[in-house]
Symmetry: C2
Subunit: 627 residues, 2 copies
């Protein structure tokens, strides 16, 4: 509802709002109380929209349209909104006559002017006669009225022309309003695309930094307004949605202020609008550790899987029931401190924290907070390392640990060494083939409602780029996955989620999450793990028959993969071999991966096979229990 939206928008730090007609019509608040609430919240009402199907109509209809406009001007006076958006017409009664359009818009601007209102004319990408920004600009110039100007909407411009030029030459005094929206490139009806699939800046495929730079180079000094119609955002809580919106806007402003643009006359290349500039992202050196919560039921499953994978229990936290498990560069922290208890007899285990190594943890945290991340209360005990941490929108805690040349407290010092012979061996032994190295990636489940927002969070806060994108028909519905990572490839975070399914992605397997460990020899790793008692997730024979048909691998290699339940993928850069454990507790599993050559993905093509296998294992609880 409107009041909730206004409060959310103000809380996220916006200075003003557009009031959308539908929101007001269904609201029980009077325009006067909306105005008063906005004033209380420190929000200006920058635009009332939309006003449709006005220009280039026969005289009788023009008179009726002016009456309609006067009613909306009445409303705008009550709201205290100074600018109205007029979209280019779709009316079946309109005619293709720029002169008439300009004349009638001029008449409208005259009426508006008398009320102290400005009219911003916008070309809809599907406008009947006017559907390009250049055309709307011609008509505005032709009408030549001080109260008539242009509204530019990045969607309407970029959906028709991904690389527009000349926007920087528009007279700034005539640029009344700027609406920003991103969108994925979709080959579909542009109206449907606009009304259902818009995204916040950075979430789609449009070059918004370039577009915004042109508008600012023109001298535009008005608001940067987000106008995003999206089926998913529409139904989400306005609080988090407003934060996502502001975060994406800050990231966009940073992108514009970082790049050099050649637009505008020499003296106007620097925008007059002050752009947000969060502290630059320090380099990240990889995953420091991943923390899982475990309970009494899941802990033995997880520790025996870690042991079998060659991990050693090397440390015990000095003040909390927390264990450190290590191998190569991989650190896994198991936390029994939560109140989680399994409800289905499998126990609960979840990824609760990602820790990344930063060249400047303090600046990483300052950047995160400038990008609206929620700082987490420090949880330092006496003599423990002071780790800066923020909360991701999905609830995951994100820690910044000193790495490389950065100085700072070592989080490992919070753990007392576990004596050899106690529990498991503290010394995992010398490096050998098949030993696991660093964490390759962490995969987090995301509810569909949160997917785009989480992407924006991790990408902007950690300065990551998209590394992989897949959408596939999994055994129980459509699943989307995206991987973001840093340029060096040392840090990868994969996100996946069911697009439509209520609840988890499969009956009895809700939203699995996993940690993938890198190895240089997946076959040795699998054999060693088997020897130590790991149950590798069984993969169907049909999968290997299909691999044979598709890729015709060396028969011996195929039989080795089949025997060890190793999955396979390739792309134009290289190959990928991987195997998984079964589910440990309700939703966590481990994966071991080997990248050969420059393979860029995460084996998403095999996800349906893995999902079906996990489901198969869960579906037969007798077998799982007796195994």
């Amino acid at each position: 509802m409107l009041e909730d939206k206004l409060r959310a928008v103000a809380a996220a730090g916006f200075d003003g709002v557009e009031i959308f007609e539908n929101d007001l019509v269904v609201s029980a608040m009077t325009p006067e109380s909306v105005r008063a609430l906005c004033a209380d919240l420190g929000l200006t009402i920058d635009l009332y929209q939309p006003f449709r199907d006005f220009e280039a109509v026969p005289d009788g209809l023009h008179a009726a349209n002016l009456r309609r406009a006067e009613r909306k001007f009445d409303l705008m006076e009550r709201l205290g909104a100074g600018t109205v958006l007029v979209c280019s017409t779709l009316s079946p009664h309109a005619v293709d006559d720029d002169g008439l359009a300009a004349q009638q818009l001029r008449a409208l601007a005259d009426r508006a002017d008398a009320r102290g209102i400005r009219v911003a004319y916008e070309a809809l990408a599907w406008g009947r006669f006017v559907n390009s920004w250049e055309h709307s600009w011609q008509i505005v110039r032709r009408a030549d009225h001080p109260a008539l100007g242009l509204c530019l909407d990045s969607f309407h411009v970029l959906s028709r022309d991904p690389a527009p030029t000349g926007v920087d030459t528009v007279d700034a005094a005539k640029l009344f309003f700027l609406q920003l929206a991103d969108a994925p490139r979709l080959d579909m009806d542009v109206l449907q695309w606009s009304r259902h699939h818009r995204l916040f800046p950075g979430q789609g495929s449009f070059d918004l930094p370039d577009f915004l730079a042109q508008v600012l180079a023109a001298g535009y000094e008005g608001p940067l307004s987000l106008e995003v119609f999206n089926d998913v955002f529409r139904q989400t809580d306005p609080g988090p949605a407003a934060v996502d919106a502001m975060r994406s806007l800050v990231a966009l402003e940073e992108a514009v202020s970082e790049r050099e643009y050649g637009y505008g006359a020499a003296g106007r290349a620097r925008p007059r609008v002050e752009l947000a500039a969060p502290p630059p992202a320090p380099g990240l050196l990889g995953h420091a550790f991943v923390e899982l919560t475990v309970d009494d039921e899941s802990a033995p499953q997880i520790t025996s899987a870690l042991s079998a994978l060659g991990f050693a229990h090397t440390g015990r936290h000095r003040s909390k029931p927390v264990e450190l498990w290590q191998q190569g560069g991989s650190n896994v922290v198991l936390n029994r401190d939560g109140n989680t208890t399994g409800t289905d007899g499998t126990g609960t285990a979840e990824v609760v924290a990602l820790a990344v190594e930063s060249r400047d943890p303090g600046q990483s945290a300052r950047r995160a907070e400038a990008l609206l991340a929620t700082p987490l209360p420090r949880r330092r005990g006496p003599e423990e390392a002071e780790l800066t941490a923020v909360a991701a929108p999905d609830g995951t805690q994100l820690f910044f640990c000193p790495g490389g040349e950065a100085r700072g407290p070592d989080w490992r010092a919070d753990f007392a060494p576990v004596a050899a012979g106690e529990g498991v061996a503290a010394d995992p032994g010398p490096p050998r083939p098949g030993r696991l190295g660093r964490i390759d990636h962490v995969a987090l489940a995301q509810p569909n409602d949160q997917f785009a927002g989480s992407m924006t969070f991790y990408q902007s806060v950690l300065d990551l780029r998209e590394r992989d994108f897949a959408e596939y028909g999994a055994p129980f519905g459509l699943v989307r996955s995206r991987t973001v990572g840093n340029v060096s490839g040392e840090l990868r975070i994969a996100m996946h989620g069911a697009l439509l399914r209520r609840g988890g992605w499969a009956p009895s397997v809700p939203d699995p999450e996993h940690i993938a460990f890198a190895t240089d020899d997946v076959f040795a790793a699998a054999r060693d793990a088997l020897e130590r008692g790991l149950e590798i997730l069984p993969i169907t024979d049909n999968y290997y028959d299909d691999l044979d048909a598709r890729y015709a691998p060396e028969p011996r290699l195929l039989e080795t993969m089949r025997g060890l339940n190793i999955l396979y993928d390739r792309d134009e850069h290289g190959e990928f071999f991987h195997f998984c454990t079964g589910l440990l507790g309700s939703r966590v599993f481990f994966e071991v991966v080997q990248r050969v050559g420059g393979y860029r993905g995460d084996g998403a093509v095999n996800a349906p096979v893995r999902m079906a296998a996990h489901r198969q294992a869960r579906h037969v609880p007798e077998q799982a229990a007796s195994a």
Copy 2:
């Protein structure tokens, strides 16, 4: 999983299946056990699919493709599948050379023939060189091999050409396979359209009866196979999905057998395939009654709303705690027999049964059962009317009562008259302006997963047609609504559902359902109801200001609507006036509607206003409680 799908398909009455590669690859069942299970279930495996990117490639690749095909033939032998689908190529290595395509397909057919396998070649609508059925047919003829024929898929044909001709002239011996799918008309990339938006026959916009009639006129005698890729169906339980599929196929066969088609040579106009023919639908005369379950908390809310609307409590069921309320032609049955209890202090009330008047209730029930409706156990007490009933997919009970000239027990006889003075007046008094007449429509909430299936059920079982369709941005997300009705307009059932939202359509208002009563004078009806103490759902002032701007109604009419909280819509045929009660119990409300002229909709344009108003009332429980 594959096994669940096979069992569901067999249970729904199908004779055979296509095995889709992805289902088999992720299955832990060997091909031999799939074959054995199908045999046990009485299913033939009619097609293995798909085999891709085969034809018109350089020699080296052709050899590799033949090897790949042999591996799939191995698999098909194990499955006992006699026909393989080969889609027209998308390979970047392929060349535009029909001769080469035919030659290589001929080589493939030779290999297949040696195994007793047939190759069905299909033009994908987005095939690189071959994307029309005519082109695939040319290539099949050119290859001229007895083991090579055509697969026709209605999606690939009708997505490119909504009214194809000449299909009836194809040599029946070369028609190896027929795949049927419907789809909504969407202006989008055809591959995405095909992979995500296919529907069962009758659920979309394709003229499938015409297409199937052509194929049958050609002399096709093979299976009618449904190949439907749909994001929603993909994630639903295969049991109900298979029933929806079979129901839509039966309805399609009925449509084909009912129509006269001019296709084919004179002697071939009658298809050789035996088509399903459920008993024809008897005429329906309107809603007999609607039954609500109520509990102790909701019952007083509902009875006082009915009283205020002018209904009288006229009957008490002879054996059950069930009340009959009547006015004009509207009958509402309140059932306290359930175990429902409110969980949020508002009480529970739900629509549990729709009863329709049929000119032949027995035949209506036989038709429903022929269309796979689940018969409900009779719940007749001694001397009570024997009503035939079936369950709709949404759980609603559907009763068939004798109407018009039909003879049969009168359901009203199960109710003992309520003496005047006891409870409320048994005699609602003489007709007067504003008195409510028949039930105009009943609106049922549908989960998104079930929407298409429910449409097919009500449309096919009751022989209804689509009357209205709307999709709108409601205050808490996108909502879709569809109304189906009979030709005379006496029976209307509206369905609506949130497209994405988890849970109800709005926080604290889960999936409302309502009964709309018709009146000839909505103003008198509203005044009378107010006088009797009804709280009409308050509509915002902003709504009336917007009505004024949009339609410039007579000021007195506008103020009357505003004063009485009457909503308004118009279309090219007439006008619509309506008002609603607040929510009675958790999710039910009543509506009073007046149609002026030939207005065809249900006021869907006002649904967001109404939803926001219901939410507003629920959101302030203090006010609701004290009111």
